[in-house]
Symmetry: C2
Subunit: 227 residues, 2 copies
């Protein structure tokens, strides 16, 4: 028997994993960053094969990890978690420095960062596990707490992007209960479109204090649109 | 530059990872359990090659993960984190059920568990990454919070066992500062010996509310012993 709720008891942080260089850098929100050895210190990050950053990490041979604080605004999750760098320069307007390997390191809402040189790539199915040797680490802001994935889900009503390893496909549950899902809703503030077919959860089933993942507007700021 | 404190900003939970069977089962405290894919759900656990459980997972081809709650007593961390199953039956006296693969699943202080069939083993240096496909998951107690590694370190003054991926070798710092480390202290309650040479942090440098990792006795219950 599989109880999906049990999967939410596993603890994660939230990070921006970045790669590339000064000309074409990119980053994405990750909850799967973990240390795998202490001597030498090596870290693993998990990345969907379809993520634009996946190819960039493979090509650059390096990545950085920015640990996000609890006050990280929804715009950051919107920009780095729900948009693709294929279409859009995510680093534009961000506070960025470049590491020893040349990878971008994002400092907005960052309490600490690591820089790793890629040493191994593991194919885990839909996702790749990038293992990197840490060559640099720094505490940027010791006055703030790191945000946990549980805090993001519980206090901020955040959801996982479809490419996240922890994404739960609620369509399976909805199909089982015979509910149809096909409407779209647009954010009146920023234009973000919530697509039930893609998100696999009905807009009406989102909690009342759910907010736009891009700009943080309230659920009541959304309106139904026709295809 | 490497700032070790930055590594403490990465978020982890705490788990008992178990393997084996009814005749010879074993488990260890892990902070590195992560979901790596959602479809199908696969989980990674990181285990030191020297851990007794490492060989058992490889041989059994399966493992279970018990998510520990915040009230987990120090005895559990002592028994599963600081002792080896080579010398000692860790499961004796514990509340244990057996999964579909036959692996033990520990229910003490467990709020949820997963059972995984091993599908891939990755050599990451000193540690192995075991990747398993989840075949079972269950919430056991929804009224308690999962314990995070940060909570364990901060509120419970816990330290990482030497085999943990997150172990920080303080000897390097002590060597640098020219401090000698060579004393031993014994717990008056349970007989546990704190060896500065092995732990690589001086007993006097441990915080005043540090407790015996085996039985939870206070620091003042320890006495210096001669070799």
């Amino acid at each position: 028997m599989v109880e999906l709720e049990a999967l939410h008891k596993i603890t994660y942080g939230l990070y921006i994993v970045s790669s590339g260089d000064r000309i074409s850098g990119n980053g994405f929100i990750s909850n799967t960053v973990f240390q795998v050895t202490s001597d030498p210190p090596r870290f693993a990050v998990v990345c969907n094969k379809d993520n634009y950053t996946s190819g960039i990490i493979s090509k650059s041979g390096a990545f950085s990890v920015s640990v996000l604080d609890r006050d990280t605004p929804p715009e950051i999750f919107g920009q780095f978690g729900f948009k693709s760098g294929k279409d859009y320069d995510k680093l534009k307007g961000m506070e960025v420095i470049y590491g020893e390997t040349g990878v971008p390191i994002i400092l907005n809402e960052c309490i600490a960062y690591l820089e790793c040189r890629l040493i191994q790539t593991v194919d885990a199915g839909t996702h790749l596990i990038f293992i990197g040797e840490m060559i640099q680490s720094k505490v940027v802001n010791d006055s703030k707490e790191p945000i946990s994935y549980a805090f993001y889900r519980k206090e901020r009503k955040g959801v996982a992007p479809k490419n996240a390893p922890t994404f739960i496909d609620r369509a399976k549950l909805l199909e089982f209960s015979g509910k149809s899902i096909q409407k779209k809703y647009q954010c009146g503030a920023c234009g973000y479109i919530y697509d039930e077919a893609a998100e696999k959860i009905r807009f009406s089933d989102l909690p009342p204090d759910w907010i736009c993942p891009v700009c943080g507007s309230e659920k009541s700021d959304f309106f139904e649109i026709t295809n």
